[in-house]
């Protein structure tokens, strides 16, 4: 792993507090818990006083703790193919087996917080709807959300308006479940906090442009927690103010996340959660720093506007990298490669995540020919380590770093 950031301990405490709050809300008869997809309309939920739980974050924790691979077969036995999202299958497997990654954070938390409603946005994939529908059936609670456009080229006013209308339509059922009316001023404040948090997170990630980079993609995977789980919460904003200050201090001091940084890389696609540390250490040992990623940037929503909460939430959801066309993605990747000054791109072709594996339709070749950006493709998975081969990934990364070093 690259050099540890001092802010990490504060982040872990913050995340643990969030999980405890969800747990407490689920046990409080007056409390209300909403489960939300990671880039779903969380601002509505916070404005209505829900404690918000994110199954994707939970699934990533299952992956990072290497529990996921043993849990997936339980979901497979339930009829969920081993080829579909391993976030979903590991999470469902955990639920069936009475296991939660939250217990590792706080042993007093025995189970995931019982939801009163599940709210999704399909801007990332359809699996999230199938995933949430499982829990909707198990708990007998509503599953509502946004059916978002995918493969978006130009973000038109019509597309934004269509999504904004769906977000607005969520308000009445959510008000009924929350037992209170939506206060527009509260919503505006939450959206403002979300935007401020997002701006800070973007600045944190942009520190990777520095040479040497003070943080890596692997740091980002850890420190993005509050940007996902506490989006719209003042504590996340405060956390990123501190993290940004620490990173800016590193930049000023010329302090590298990876000692002797000689090769700079960009990561495209999902993390390999169960091998995050190993891959990070491997690359650090090769003096290669992964200075940017599409993944961590997926929680940057600068366009959120407290004066136009619904439209700006919709625009943020439609503009998301994962929901764009390949042509747009190609342009973004070429620009990101330039911005971060990388030698090449590491594409992770995650077997069970076709929607966030962007190397399957000729993108690496087009980027090499069009923008002169070389790349390597890792064949693995986000959570299912049965689909991962340590040796193959190691060879591919080492060979790619050698290639980049030769070229520099």
């Amino acid at each position: 792993m690259s050099r540890r950031l001092e802010s990490a301990s504060g982040m872990q405490a913050l995340m643990a507090d969030s999980f405890r709050e969800c747990d407490a809300a689920a046990r409080d008869p007056a409390g209300r818990v909403a489960w939300c997809s990671s880039v779903g309309p969380v601002e509505l939920l916070r404005a209505l006083g829900f404690a918000v739980f994110f199954p994707e974050n939970h699934a990533a924790m299952l992956g990072a703790s290497r529990l996921a691979t043993d849990l997936i077969p339980t979901a497979t036995a339930e009829g969920y193919s081993p080829d579909v999202c391993s976030y979903m299958t590991s999470d469902i497997g955990a639920w069936r087996r009475g296991v939660t990654a939250l217990s590792r954070v706080d042993p007093s938390i025995a189970r995931v917080p019982r939801p009163d409603v599940l709210v999704y946005d399909t801007n990332q994939c359809r699996d999230v709807l199938d995933w949430f529908s499982f829990y909707g059936r198990q708990y007998g609670v509503p599953v509502i959300g946004v059916a978002a456009p995918r493969g978006v080229g130009v973000v038109t006013g019509e597309l934004v308006a269509a999504v904004a209308a769906q977000i607005r339509a969520l308000v009445p059922p959510l008000e009924a479940i929350a037992g209170r009316r939506m206060d527009p001023d509260v919503l505006a404040r939450v959206v403002a906090v979300s935007r401020d948090t997002s701006v800070l997170w973007r600045k944190v990630l942009s520190c990777g442009e520095a040479r040497p980079s003070p943080l890596t993609f692997f740091d980002g995977c850890v420190h993005m927690g509050p940007a996902v789980v506490l989006r719209g919460d003042e504590r996340a904003k405060a956390y990123y103010e501190g993290l940004l200050a620490e990173l800016e201090g590193r930049v000023a001091a010329g302090e590298a996340a990876v000692d002797g940084e000689r090769v700079r890389l960009y990561w495209e696609g999902m993390p390999i959660w169960g091998r995050l540390r190993q891959v990070s250490e491997l690359l650090a040992g090769l003096r290669a720093s992964v200075v940017g990623s599409t993944y961590c940037s997926s929680w940057v929503f600068d366009g959120l506007d407290p004066d136009a909460p619904f439209d700006s939430m919709a625009r943020a959801a439609v503009e998301l990298f994962i929901s764009r066309s390949d042509a747009v993605k190609e342009g973004i990747l070429a620009a990101e490669a330039r911005r971060y000054g990388v030698h090449g791109i590491v594409f992770h072709d995650a077997k069970t995540c076709p929607n966030n594996s962007n190397c399957r339709y000729g993108m690496p070749g087009r980027l090499l020919r069009g923008a002169g950006v070389p790349s390597v493709v890792l064949h693995s998975d986000l959570n299912d380590l049965r689909l991962h081969a340590d040796e193959g990934v190691r060879l591919a990364l080492e060979a790619f770093v050698e290639q980049c070093a030769e070229a520099s």
């Binding site: 493709v377 040796e391 060879l395 080492e398 070229a407």
Partner: protein, 262 residues
């Protein structure tokens, strides 16, 4: 020519190979052994093999570079580099032109592209499964109750390749069973096995320019080479010792490192 000498040790998943170069860059000795289960031991045995074949190099080996899956286990190596870089170095040394090198390894197959100045511009590896690799040939040989060498002999006598469609080695073994049950000539089945490997490789990348085929199965004039040429529609280049090109590349890089050229 005398010392100093430079050695390359390529501990692959099936076979371990070694090449010793003299100070002029000429090959002084080569050795090949089954890798087995003790990577360090096989590397040491190869070192002994080289020095027995070229006793003038005793005490004169200036630098050793290890490569292959067991590169981290070669305790006497000065440096370890991936086999992809070593294959590229060897193919450039042997052919000196823009080329696509295809190494059919035991565990995986690599497609490496070099530009006209010997720079690697890209590389690809086969996906997770064994189809298109030496392991596939070994598996199919075992199912046909023969050795990899025996499979080559059988296939050379084949007249019409029987198509094997599966990506999956386990499924392909099932296909073999069906073909045997259907009474298809075992020589034609063996030829079909090679054809399947070739199909998996040519779909890995759009092959441009001269193509170099390496690996233990790439016997000059052998079945794999002939089927490959038929698939791409033109002759391919095969090094004189295609099984040891990785080790040759390692020895060349060891020499270059010593000369401060890397």
């Amino acid at each position: 020519m005398g010392g100093p000498f430079f050695s390359g040790i390529d501990v692959g998943s099936s076979y371990a190979k070694a090449v010793l170069l003299d100070a002029s860059g000429a090959v002084a000795a080569e050795a090949v052994r089954k890798t087995g289960v003790d990577f360090a031991a096989v590397a040491e045995a190869l070192r002994v093999d080289l020095l027995e074949a070229a006793p003038q190099a005793r005490g004169q080996v200036a630098r050793t570079l290890a490569t292959g899956y067991g590169r981290g286990n070669v305790t006497f190596a000065d440096e370890a580099v991936t086999e992809i870089t070593c294959q590229a170095a060897a193919c450039w040394h042997l052919f000196r032109r823009a080329l696509t090198a295809i190494d059919v390894g035991g565990q995986d197959t690599k497609v490496i592209t070099l530009d006209g100045e010997g720079r690697r511009t890209s590389f690809l590896m086969n996906r997770r499964c064994a189809s298109g690799t030496g392991a596939f040939l070994e598996e199919m040989a075992a199912r046909l109750d023969t050795t990899p060498e025996g499979l080559e002999t059988l296939a050379a006598a084949g007249r019409e390749a029987v198509p094997l469609s599966s990506f999956c080695t386990v499924f392909a073994r099932g296909e073999l069973l069906s073909l045997i049950r259907a009474g298809r000539a075992v020589q034609d089945i063996a030829l079909g096995v090679y054809e399947a490997v070739v199909r998996r490789i040519v779909e890995m990348a759009r092959l441009q320019g001269d193509v170099v085929l390496t690996g233990g199965a790439a016997i000059p004039g052998g079945v794999l080479v002939r089927r490959f040429e038929a698939a791409v529609g033109h002759p391919v280049l095969v090094p004189p010792h295609p099984q040891t090109t990785g080790a040759l590349g390692a020895a060349l890089l060891a020499m270059r490192a010593r000369e401060g050229q890397r």
